[in-house]
Symmetry: C2
Amino acid sequence: MTTGTMRTGAATGAAGEDTRSRLLATALRLFTEHGAEGTSLQMIADALGVTKAAVYYHFKTKDEITEAVAEPGLRELAAVVEEAATFRRRGARIDHLLTGFVDIVVRHRALVALFSSDPGVARAIEKTLHGEERFEKRLIALLAGPEPDTSTLVAAHVALAGIALAGGAPALADLDDESLREALLAVGRRLMGRPRPRA
Amino acid sequence: MTTGTMRTGAATGAAGEDTRSRLLATALRLFTEHGAEGTSLQMIADALGVTKAAVYYHFKTKDEITEAVAEPGLRELAAVVEEAATFRRRGARIDHLLTGFVDIVVRHRALVALFSSDPGVARAIEKTLHGEERFEKRLIALLAGPEPDTSTLVAAHVALAGIALAGGAPALADLDDESLREALLAVGRRLMGRPRPRA
DNA sequence: GTCTATAAGCAGATAGAC
DNA sequence: GTCTATCTGCTTATAGAC
């Protein structure tokens, strides 16, 4: 209430929220095209049709933009890892992990590939997750199990990196979500030695 | 001969060649740590213990450094693709492709992961390969075959990206070449539906 | 919420001494 | 082959008008 600067009545700045969302979507696209360090605030501002100063109204630093871009996928990933850790049987744990991971990859496409392979993004989100250990390590550990042999460990690495990058691959961008999800889950299960689900 | 500036007698500037090699090795390390765009000439110079101007004596531009870093792996990759394309039977083609690709990944470790995922490197080498089509496309095409179904296409993408990134993963850096090679080849074959070679 | 204007610093790159 | 010194342009970031 008070004497705010709202102009649309109910919501707290619909135009502002929209600009922020557009900004994050634009930043994600540019990050995947040029890398996080290869993307300047000027490029983001130009793509949005605003000035750099307008961008700074929404985010105090460039790192803050990088964190905000990564945050949704990161949170969902954390939730899947936590859930998977509660399963006692190794098979069920792998199944839950693969299903959840593939689902996140498919819904966010380029995002997971981005923070699997972009050092700039990795550095920015490390500050966000200062307390909590690296996700990748936990994912690998849950997927490969305790004291894994070499081939299982390597398979887990190939599965995670491969699924993340394939999900964001431009050549597969035309695939609809359901087809991509099924295919990625199938290769993940094959890699980790899980039986195929029946049709 | 003439009145050159050689000081070591036989070779054409041993110290210079050594600096050039050290420069490329240092650049590769920094590129994988910070990304190509995230690595400045100042960082490279500092790591070498020389000034930026000394770096410019060896390479005219930063792009030239990027290309020179990628070149050895790129050439070997091109050779493997050409060889694989000569096989008539699809199984033999896949076998040759996987064996050759894994071998390059293992011997260069971080390199293949770098130009699989770094947009800065990808852009720089596109200028080098202006005539020849994108490697990745040809690799995928040879691996998945003509008119592949969705699951085969996705499997090929996961295999290439996964093998490249797993090969450069810090967590697997301690594995000796032979163990890594065997494990990567095994997962690649499993993904592409090839039978296991007998022990 | 977006603008203009500007500061301070670092980027890639070059000239010329040694 | 490496150095010092320098240039230009772009980077992140801030101050203050509208």
